[in-house]
Symmetry: C2
Subunit: 397 residues, 2 copies
């Protein structure tokens, strides 16, 4: 008796091991400063909660349509269309139990075994896992540290396109780097997509987590609406990570397939919480805006302290709730020159828990700078100050 062969190709989020180590350290009576996981320690807005409770009590507890309730699909289509200057209707929307299910359904719908898929690295590790699990070939592209922002290495991206390239994963605004494409980058990517006839997974999980300016989407560029599948989630902007609600958005012909996958995989998403999402999109936004204000305050505090540490350089992304500081100098200073010993020693010595480059895909050849990821979604400002203060003392000792 043995497992199916494909299981050997299944990856995971190794960040969960970091959580486990932090929990074990805390269980020994130590203080932990949790910068490792991208969950929010903020409340779901009360009006959003109330809408779910009302729908539950009104009996929205039976199955709903496989693609989601029509009202939510309509409202979400309008919202996403307005924010991206395109024209989606409810037929372009398939509600999902979270943002993540869009990843596996995208690859199952559009990737054949042997197809090559360009994906961001460092990046969310589930892309790599799902590409390989379903028999594709994962082809990474990297990022360049600019003055104000990380940029996609579009030369590397272009150089890795082959006749077998069929899909592209674009996570703009990006986990873990906070990178945001300039219009020039988006135009270059759109050109490559057209030229090489690619399908694109636009993971826009952080589209609405931004502190100034306006998010852009690849789908706004000419022809892209017919080639892009958007991963959408309610998790971040309404602090609803544990509710599990999101959507796949794209051309009707693909959405019809995705809905057929819904029929096969989980029938439908939870019925009554879809009414909470409607309230989120159409109701009072006071608490949702407060979530953003809180996150912005945390970002500024963390970036300021990090840049005050010798050997650390941290950009200040306008979006996401992640920081990707360059810690090359700090690691050299401590003599801890591999990621795991640096991370574990910092945890033991200071209680500061974070992920490193190793948790975001297999490192590329020639990387000579070292980065860690700090998430500030699950830690309050007094703790940020204390924790990063200890980090500073440890590195500068």
């Amino acid at each position: 008796m043995k497992l199916a062969d494909r299981i050997a190709r299944l990856g995971t989020e190794t960040a969960f091991a970091v959580s486990a180590e932090a929990a074990a350290f805390a269980a020994q009576g130590n203080k932990v400063y949790p910068f490792h996981l991208g969950d929010l320690n903020l409340k779901t807005p009360a009006n959003v909660q109330a809408a779910a409770i009302k729908a539950m009590q009104e009996g929205r507890t039976g199955y709903c349509p496989n693609g989601g309730i029509p009202q939510l699909r309509e409202i979400l289509a309008e919202d996403v269309s307005a924010a991206r200057n395109v024209k989606y209707t409810m037929e372009n929307i398939a509600i999902q139990p979270g943002g993540k299910p869009t990843i596996s359904k995208f690859f199952m719908s559009l990737m054949n075994p042997g197809d090559e898929v360009l994906y961001p690295n460092p990046g969310y590790p589930i892309y790599e896992s799902q590409i390989e699990f379903h028999g594709g070939k994962a082809v990474p592209y990297g990022f360049i540290e600019g003055e104000k922002n990380f940029e996609i290495d579009t030369d590397m991206l272009e150089s890795r396109i082959t006749p077998r390239s069929r899909l592209l994963v674009l996570n703009d605004l990006q986990n873990p780097t906070g990178a945001e494409c300039s219009m020039a980058e988006l135009e270059k990517i759109a050109e490559l997509v057209r030229k090489h006839d690619l399908w694109v997974l636009c993971d826009e999980a952080y589209f609405d987590i931004r502190y100034q300016g306006r998010s852009k989407s690849l789908v706004s560029l000419p022809d892209m609406v017919d080639r892009c599948i958007i991963l959408y989630t309610f998790s971040k902007k309404f602090a609803m990570t544990g509710w599990r609600l999101g959507a796949t958005i794209g051309p009707k012909e693909i959405i019809d397939v995705i809905i057929k996958l819904n029929v096969n995989d989980e029938s439908c998403s939870n019925h009554f919480i879809q009414y909470a999402a409607i309230e989120g999109l159409t109701g009072d936004l006071t608490e949702a805006r407060q979530i953003l204000a809180t996150l912005k305050e945390r970002r500024d505090q963390a970036v300021d302290i990090l840049n005050d540490i010798e050997g650390i350089k941290c950009l200040r992304p306008d979006a996401t709730f992640y920081l990707w500081p360059n810690v090359t100098g700090a690691m050299q200073k401590t003599g801890l020159t591999d990621y795991d010993s640096f991370r574990k020693t910092v945890l033991q010595q200071t209680g500061v828990s974070f992920c490193t480059r190793l948790h975001f895909g297999r490192p590329l050849e020639g990387e000579d700078q070292y980065y860690i990821r700090l998430a500030y979604s699950g830690i309050n400002t007094p703790e940020i100050e204390k924790g990063l203060g200890k980090l500073k003392a440890f590195i500068e000792q």
Copy 2:
């Protein structure tokens, strides 16, 4: 640009088309008697709802562990162990967003392309779909209409086992026939499983929907706990179909893989509704028992009327909320000798909507008896009486 090849092998629940036809007929101002879909028109017990609301308001709105919250996994392990006389612990449990996700995850974990899978036919159509979607060969086995019960045709089952047979799907208690294995059937199946070294998906979605006696499980038989994966759901007994909560239960080595699939597919199930499930398993059962009492009353009324119709013979299953009457004589009498014209004419003439044999897998060679499926989960007794009265009048006219 084209879809992945595997999409051509993806099936669906054709019963949804029956729903659509019924809805279209109702939209024309006609009365519909809905016997077609296995949803419940009953309320989730108030104490179960209250537990979810409390957990939501207490902030159980962030991610939870990928396999589910430990308390629920422990309590469910105890509950399932006691009901099946085995010894599971929380390590044998992976919480899922519904019962259905266990089907695709079972095949992804244990089936290689080309492996043969024995599955019940008539049966839930998603087995056939998921076997073929993930590259397996679907090998059907049928049922025999006994005096009191449908029985698995174990001779057919045995005759179809080959050296490539690797998996078996057992849906005991069964949708759509209401079949329930005798101890002799279970022993025969266990013998075949041991002899041919098979993994078994035990779809026990209806294990607790029974009106007398006690449900048995294949896992109770010698060696079977190491070879069976149970599909468990909270949907039916607590009228929670639209909540989407269930579990995969089996050997730890498989559950570890299933949890890794959870990490990849949807991260975790909704956090706060897991507290509702704890209340369901440990709290007051008054309303849950009332659900069963209501269903039993509906079953008896429906069976009595059906058996009073010329050309229809209906068994009275002790479990599930489905009836699988033999309508061979009735169809002959009406001159409507193919399933679709019989079904559509009955809908048009009487408003009674149901599924037929065609919605439960590709018919086997040599079938000469005709069956339809009536679900009584979504229709109240006065409507059952009126609807089936009209059916009787139509057939006997």
